[in-house]
């Protein structure tokens, strides 16, 4: 397993854990305080999810990179897979962002707009990771 494949898998697992943790916090707050989602204090958990998720990914990336010292970390296949998968999820992010823009003009609560941006950002990265891992496991279509 190459360094790029390891970092992609690590990022996917971390992203999933952080994403689930964010929603556990939001749902728990909504249930325990008996308030609708739009009245939950979501800003702190979302900011924490972005910063902690990004920080943990950077640390795991550094560890995997460091453990592979002395070996060739990337090769031509990594480069080809990166090229192949790099636009996967971009369409989803674009459509989701357009949806967020329409929601803002319709005066939808900021919670739902931010949640839409957060969700499509996460899902786009998940699609990208899924395509990358599938390309490593099953090869790229010719």
């Amino acid at each position: 397993m190459t360094v790029t494949e390891r970092t992609t898998i690590a990022g996917t697992i971390l992203g999933l854990v952080v994403f689930i943790a964010y929603w556990v916090v939001i749902i728990t707050r909504a249930v325990t305080d008996d308030v609708p989602f739009v009245d939950v204090e979501w800003q702190g958990p979302m900011l924490a999810a972005i910063l902690v998720g990004g920080g943990l990914y950077a640390v795991s990336y550094g560890i995997i990179w460091w453990r592979a010292r002395g070996t060739r970390r990337t090769d031509e296949r990594d480069f080809e897979i990166e090229r192949y998968a790099e636009t996967a999820g971009a369409g989803l992010a674009g459509l989701g962002s357009l949806a967020a823009l329409i929601m803002l003009t319709l005066d939808v609560d900021t919670f739902w707009v931010a949640t839409t941006l957060f969700m499509v950002g996460y899902l786009a990265s998940l699609v990208n990771s899924g395509v990358t891992i599938a390309a490593y496991r099953q090869g790229m279509p010719s």
């Binding site: 800003q43 979302m46 900011l47 090229r83 790099e86 636009t87 971009a90 992010a93 674009g94 962002s97 357009l98 967020a100 823009l101 803002l104 003009t105 005066d107 900021t110 707009v113 931010a114 941006l117 957060f118 950002g121």
Partner: protein
């Protein structure tokens, strides 16, 4: 010039014309009145619709002008893929601004317009990257 390249110019022209007009109008309004009192929603929706219509006409003209030219080829696909990837990266960075504004509890005016600006800038940068690549072969 392939049809794909002509389509890109049509897209860039539509975005520059419509979004440019909107942001000039918004700048003039901001110079005269507070942001939260500006009725921006209807002009913004008209801008989106106008952009779609101008882009559609532009594609029609491009297709007409490209009669007899070569269709899309492998180079077009390579340039498109790289430019899409770089544009996605640019948009991800620019879209952080409305997200941060939302986290800070700013008004919908600033969140909406920063998101629309991110969209417009990404489109212009994407077309610019393609034009640059077609001229220099940098991304192919």
């Amino acid at each position: 010039m392939t049809i794909t390249e002509r389509y890109q110019w049509a897209y860039g022209f539509a975005v520059l014309l419509t979004s440019g007009a909107y942001f000039v109008w918004l700048g003039l309004r901001l110079a005269e009145q507070p942001a939260d009192s500006i009725e921006y929603v209807t002009p913004l929706l008209w801008t989106l619709l106008a952009s779609f219509i101008v882009h559609s006409f532009g594609r029609g003209f491009a297709a007409h002008a490209a009669r007899g030219d070569s269709g899309s080829d492998e180079r077009d696909r390579a340039i498109n893929q790289r430019a899409d990837a770089l544009s996605f990266f640019v948009f991800s960075v620019l879209a952080a601004a409305p997200l941060v504004l939302g986290l800070m509890g700013e008004s919908a005016f600033w969140i909406t317009n920063s998101l629309f600006l991110a969209y417009s800038l990404t489109a212009v940068i994407g077309v610019g990257l393609r034009a640059w690549s077609y001229r220099t072969g940098a991304l192919a």
